[in-house]
Symmetry: C2
Subunit: 340 residues, 2 copies
Amino acid sequence: MRGAVIYAPGDVRVEERENPRIAHPSDAIIRLSATCVCGSDLWDFRGINPVHQPTPMGHEYVGIVEEVGEDVKNVKIGDFVVGSFFASDNTCDICRAGYQTSCIHREFVGAGGAQAELLRVPLADGTLVATPAIPDAELIPSFMAASDVLGTGWFGAVAAQAGPGKTVAVVGDGAVGLLAVLAAQQLGAERIIAMSRHASRQKLALEFGATDIVTERGDEGVAKIKELTDGLGAHSVIEAVGTQESMMQAIRSTRAGGHVGYVGVAHDVSLPGEEMFYSHVHLHGGPAPVRQFLPELIQLIWDRTIEPGKVFDLEVALEDIAEGYQAMDERRAIKALVRL
Amino acid sequence: MRGAVIYAPGDVRVEERENPRIAHPSDAIIRLSATCVCGSDLWDFRGINPVHQPTPMGHEYVGIVEEVGEDVKNVKIGDFVVGSFFASDNTCDICRAGYQTSCIHREFVGAGGAQAELLRVPLADGTLVATPAIPDAELIPSFMAASDVLGTGWFGAVAAQAGPGKTVAVVGDGAVGLLAVLAAQQLGAERIIAMSRHASRQKLALEFGATDIVTERGDEGVAKIKELTDGLGAHSVIEAVGTQESMMQAIRSTRAGGHVGYVGVAHDVSLPGEEMFYSHVHLHGGPAPVRQFLPELIQLIWDRTIEPGKVFDLEVALEDIAEGYQAMDERRAIKALVRL
């Protein structure tokens, strides 16, 4: 099969790789209908995460079940399925509490490299969710989004307790931040402030339900949020970047007693204990347990209630996926889709 | 009046001070029935917080209303009242959300020094809660505890979402940690693990409802909590110390999706973002909004359902309050009471 492999920062190649095989009775093999490039892939592409050896890339996937291990019962050959970047048994105490990305048996699905034609998914019964039937092609981008960025933005909004009567602010205008806007809107938030200085992203934020746009950043961004909220700060703030600056912007934009939901993968972040203490904010986040939300998200997409696939503003062939990385790195594209 | 003043680390003196007076129409003057020494007073006594000038000490108080400003309506002269260390209007959006210690009009009551015979309490209507009648002398220590350490331990337990079906661990065996055990028990926790290596504190923890005692600390303490919880960690962990070590012990003792309630005043604490991210814990805490809980706590004490006053294992005269500091500093006493 063909698949993307990173060799060094900036050097992503599509090459012939060995087809994955069933390794455990709980595995499934998926023939991908689409894959895509994640903002977190850019940490490797930019050399911020070290690349020690050629490494298969990608952890977002939708596709048709091609083969299942003998223990697999919940999905069958021919199903169109969506799964998350962490495989989970969906039965342990941690999964049942809704934290499948911390499942006691979790495995990183991306280890096999989802930017490829085929993918082995461990713990298929607890990881994959089938759509009601094979979806129309136009729905593929939205299901693709559900595999990670929609579920991640959704978790951010849930962790920030976005809901009726709440003013929600979103720090970060990447795909996750934009879909956190959509999630906040679906969860019934009264007011949604998107923090963005890019015209195309502002436009999408407004389409997804943002009521206000704030272009300022850092301390000025915080001051602007305070100004819009009677000096108190937002009830709910979603952090979707993962830097020290964005975390502090999120925490300082939140009112006392409010909630920060942080889903940007934290890089070199250190939270000052005394400021946290006196801030009175609730802090929750981490790798989104997308599996928890998949049944609901799949239904919303199937019913055409939401169209998260709009975050894909670039489509490339698998052979040209490096261009997808490049465009996202240069912020020419929000998110790059590959149909297979 | 007589009142305690700190001059330098280790140097607390009781001296003649000017009687407080009504300064604003919303003030009340209280004649204290009791006061006490707080664990947080020790930060000054130990020289960890700098002492720049002679400073009146104490922020915990119960007593009889002696005088009220013309706007005060909720308490009257002769009432026995309990209040918290921060005065609050109890009407702003932040107060109504239950965060009176972040009230937009908050004032530190302790600025006047509650280790004294008289105290001015600002925003009396939003700060003070009267008991149903003048309490018996034997109830005074418990009402005294409600002013801070009980309310703080209670907030820690609420922030950690202690409740039915939950395994709760408590880091810190000072008065706050011990009363967090009591709070967890009252909130219906199934199992309560007190982390303590002091026999007298272990005994009180068991009286307050602890089901298990863990004597190990740091990584060994975390390993022991994991061992007691099927390798997962506790659902709810209350942090009642405020150091880097105790915060990390609390976070690492909590299962994915679990809750850390932190009420130890953070000193030189820095939380590693990446570890927080992957921990999947909820983090909430800060200066306890004791006012939120006072009506309920006063009733529980009045009805003799709880006896938080047991944390006072030393009683000294106001003139000898320095001995209370000394005994707590050396951990000879859990908490020192002064009756007036």
